[in-house]
Symmetry: C2
Subunit: 351 residues, 2 copies
DNA sequence: AGCAAAATTTAAAACGTTTGCAATTTCGAA
DNA sequence: TTCGAAATTGCAAACGTTTTAAATTTTGCT
């Protein structure tokens, strides 16, 4: 078994070369004789030498890490978003030899403070931020700081440009409306959340725009709002829609979790999906395939998006492009069995 | 807006103190006058000073990171394991100010090589390894290297002790058998995988032990095996169990994904769960709650386990306990609607 | 053989922090 | 006052690497 070589100094000594030469040889500099480069590479491989990250980072100013702040959420992690996102980032990063660092923000701790810490400590060369809020201090901070970042999601309007990748929720919601309209639906319901996330507005606006495009005054839209994290309130909101004197024939939910609640409540109150009610979600979470009769939804392909975000960020770090990079991904309709033609006769909700 | 203070040197200069004093003051050393400590803390806070991680790591030998190697899996990430695991680790780490680094192993790249790189580069003070294989070179490497680690899962037998946390799959499978036996089932099916993971043996052995404990010769167990990653083969294996001349009245699946396949295939071939067939899974993935009629399974509470793993690892790093830490978590039965009394009359499979 | 240019190697500084040891200041008692 | 001890602060080395600038060796020509 080979002697444990931990440092460049030891490796250099064992080769009878200077630290400088070994360092350069390993980095593949042309100025080092080919024969020497090979000899060094061979010795390093055999000794299992790996350069110390801290030392390299300290002198080069590059850590080779990309940061992601992980907000601790409630006890029920109901989707695979994080897993897919992280996997996608990993895939994107590994191609360039970069790694991911995940800094956790404790529940009471502002996410901004953790982000700041990651940036100021030099742990990462760039960061990814997700779940963009209407007024997002992270964006302002990173922008002021001039620190490389890519946002997953967008601001509604901003007086500055930045790098982002977003799924085109507006387009998806327009598509959902058009499809349902063509199936004869005229009375729509929208289940949405009260949290100030921008994706909510983007999707709602896309729906409103699609409605406006039709110019059909008989189209009606009822909106029910609840907190994202309060399951009880969500169920209540859904039932406000379902139990009114006149009930929508089609409900579009801001995301699958809400759509699944709609389907559960519909079933509980004796409605059959899609005969009595069409439901469309967004995200294509795993459960949407299993929840009967199968939820029609949009696939945002989180993993693929994350991979592209990683690519974008590495490009930004390496090349500092003058123009910001932006990318709008059109989500794909996943047509399952939760939507269908509008019912002919308006049935009242069963008592 | 305060001048940007990036280094200790600048902060010290602005305070008229030496670097040493400021460093010690920030570290809270008693030998520095309280008044000075307060003055320094105030200035640091106001300037937003954060110590450079690379420099600190280099000199102290501690990075404050815990590593996890992320194997890239197939295109379909069907569960929320990674997300929950990472969230749990984050929760456990944040309490001690540690962060997580995720190193991705490209598909063709051996996970061991990536692990080695993480360890040898000094990026992490300890690592977590998951999905323990029957013969696991990672364990041997870390052990030889004397590097702090915690395994999520166990070897079947080993000639050395190490730190691990595992869910007691053997107990769960015994419990599942006992419950089904008491419901009158005598003919069992087991759907398992061909991959050499230890958890497979632990669970199967638990089942075998429970069967042996009953000492009832009328108990019969059919086993179907398929690759974890080949959906077609999995479906075939399930159907071998379902379509035989005499079919089990209860099927236990190694994990939920297989159990869901059983339920799908049962429904497809006209069997009603749980009237004709009881099905029990393991993991309690999200979809198991939605897949009709609701899968009875065991909840391994990945998130909680991960949090404990983080705690264990930080303890190991800080205190280097002489005895290895081990922890066996008993998974909780999640009783849904996929199991019931054994059918009275043996129905043949419908043609 | 001798010399300039090219090729190859090296010494030393720098990155920003922690820390052993020494220097300085403060303070109470003689 | 003055002295010694205690309290407080500072110098300088060290961590392991990259990189600038300079030194050394080799090569090609005459």
């Amino acid at each position: 078994m080979p002697a444990r070589v931990t440092t460049l100094k030891e490796l250099a000594a064992s080769l009878g070369l200077s630290i400088t030469t070994v360092s350069r040889a390993l980095a593949g500099h042309q100025q080092i004789a080919l024969k020497t480069r090979e000899r060094v590479a061979q010795a390093a491989r055999q000794a299992g030498y790996v350069a110390n990250t801290a030392a390299r980072t300290l002198v080069s100013g590059r850590s080779g890490f990309v940061g992601l702040v992980l907000p601790i959420r409630g006890p029920h992690l109901v989707d695979s978003f994080l897993g897919e996102f992280v996997t996608g980032l990993g895939e994107g990063l590994v191609a360039h030899g970069a790694d991911l660092i995940l800094a956790t923000a404790a529940q009471d701790q502002a996410e901004l403070a953790v982000l700041r810490h990651v940036v100021e400590s030099g742990r990462a060369d760039g960061v990814v931020i997700t779940r963009i809020a209407e007024v997002d201090e992270r964006l302002a901070y990173l922008r002021n700081r001039g620190f490389p970042f890519v946002a997953h999601g967008r601001l509604l309007d901003s007086d500055f440009a930045y790098n982002w990748l977003d799924t085109d929720g507006a387009h998806a919601f327009g598509e959902a409306f058009d499809m349902l309209y063509d199936l004869g639906h005229r009375h729509f319901g929208l289940v949405t959340i009260s949290e100030p996330m921008t994706f909510r507005h983007l999707r709602q606006d896309g729906l409103a725009a699609a409605i406006a495009r039709r110019g059909d005054p008989s189209v009606r839209l009822d909106v029910a709002t609840a907190s994202r994290f309060d399951r009880g309130a969500r169920i209540q909101a859904v039932n406000r829609l379902l139990q009114g004197p006149s009930r929508p024939t089609a409900i579009i939910a801001l995301f699958d979790e809400l759509a699944l609640t709609v389907m559960e409540e519909a079933a509980r109150t004796g409605l059959t999906v899609p005969r009595d009610l069409s439901v469309i979600g967004f995200d294509n979470v795993l459960a949407s395939a299993y929840a009967p009769p199968g939820l029609t939804t949009f696939d945002a392909s989180i993993r693929q998006c994350a991979r592209e975000i990683a690519d974008m960020l590495l490009t930004i770090i390496a090349e500092k492009p003058a123009e910001p990079l932006t990318r709008l991904i059109r989500p794909a309709l996943v047509s399952r069995a939760s939507h269908g033609p509008a019912p002919r006769t308006r049935k009242m909700t069963p008592a």
